[in-house]
Symmetry: C2
Amino acid sequence: MPTSPSNDQAIGVFDSGIGGLTVAASLRRLLPHENILYIGDTARVPYGGKSRETVERYSIEIGNLLLAGGAKMIVVACNTASALGVPRMKEVFEVPVVGVVVPGAKAAVDSTKNKTIGVIGTRATIASGAYEKAILALEPGATIHSAPCPLLVPLIEEGLIEDSVTDQMLRRYLDPLLSQGIDTLVLGCTHYPLLKNAIARIAGPTVSLVDSAENCALSVGHLLRESHLATPKKDNGQLEVTLTDSAEGFLRTAARALKLPITKVSLQNSPERPKN
Amino acid sequence: MPTSPSNDQAIGVFDSGIGGLTVAASLRRLLPHENILYIGDTARVPYGGKSRETVERYSIEIGNLLLAGGAKMIVVACNTASALGVPRMKEVFEVPVVGVVVPGAKAAVDSTKNKTIGVIGTRATIASGAYEKAILALEPGATIHSAPCPLLVPLIEEGLIEDSVTDQMLRRYLDPLLSQGIDTLVLGCTHYPLLKNAIARIAGPTVSLVDSAENCALSVGHLLRESHLATPKKDNGQLEVTLTDSAEGFLRTAARALKLPITKVSLQNSPERPKN
């Protein structure tokens, strides 16, 4: 059954919800000819507060759906699933699996001058210590200050992008990191690039922001070339979005904010639990 | 297979997460001798933004788990599942099914003097129009103003119970209802009683708050007596909590806030999708 993927297949992108469209938008800009098959597990969103075991199980299930849809590679466009699910996905799947954590960690190490790096993300991502580990593997002398920001995703999904309440929460979350003298801040959740302006305003000009979506897309491009999986096509690629539950409102908001044309949207039930 | 439930079985209580513990706490006060089997579907929480079809499916699945655990009746301690799932559950299950919507609507009609009633809840609950329908069935002359408050559950789950950010969001959500002259406000989400003090402060003394948890428990007591299912036992009942994913932090917070002793906590995977 496992045959090698071929270069005319689509890139499979997976997120717990719609936030991963920031990664799809970066892929579209960087690799305009690639077809993208995106699955958002909106029936079980959010993953950010759930356990490793549950996130691992969901990740394998959605990975299988992407392969069934003909994906040549799996991009885990969700920091929580990258932090908790990617190690197991790499064992299970034959196609390349790319998460957002390692590319983000690499970009942070490239950016920092004082080796003092901040990381923000969901509760599960921060608790996993995944960014910490990935950064220290590249730069053992780094000091990392991290903070879970559990309210940012709901605030973003409610469209409070430029809003005094969001600014207040950002200040509460960021002040302890800023007072430690970080010069680089990893936006360790694919929703957060939508708050980039507000975060930049509060963090100030001395702090560089690392956008995990952008760096993940760069890493995918590199891997496609390296593994001879880049599409030979020259026309514009398509973006197909499948959701496990309807989330039309936020889907429209995100697509508009990201200026991201979507070819087709469909619905599919969450997969059954695999027998094990 | 379907045998009539007997009075020494437990009351089954179901919520998408932990918020339904407010109902369990009301049941404990009102019916101290009853055993309670509580299942929180924390692996798929929250239901509040999900579609009718998905909430219906999840409700039947968790109802089956409660019956497998020996429940004599199913209490749907979740407004979203009550609004979207209870009609189908009543068709499927042989045991009595009680939601929070009808008891809350009845209490609102009993409370209002000017027949102008406010309802707050999740996006799914408000969009369903379930409270509106239930209130108008009892009082066709009522005027109902409703507002989805999607950020309140995340704020409560983060423990921001007495907090300036929560107060600001409450003002945004409630001001349009208050300006319509409501004299009664239905807290149409089982999390909201945890914000009762803040809501009362902002709504002011002329607005009566209807706590759907309390009214649901009253309705359960009535139904148990009517259907001869009240326990004959005289010792203190037990509360067993099963979660589909770990949520220890908020579970402890809620149990402390509600002064609710929990006999046993266990974990169980979300059920598989029924073959249909």
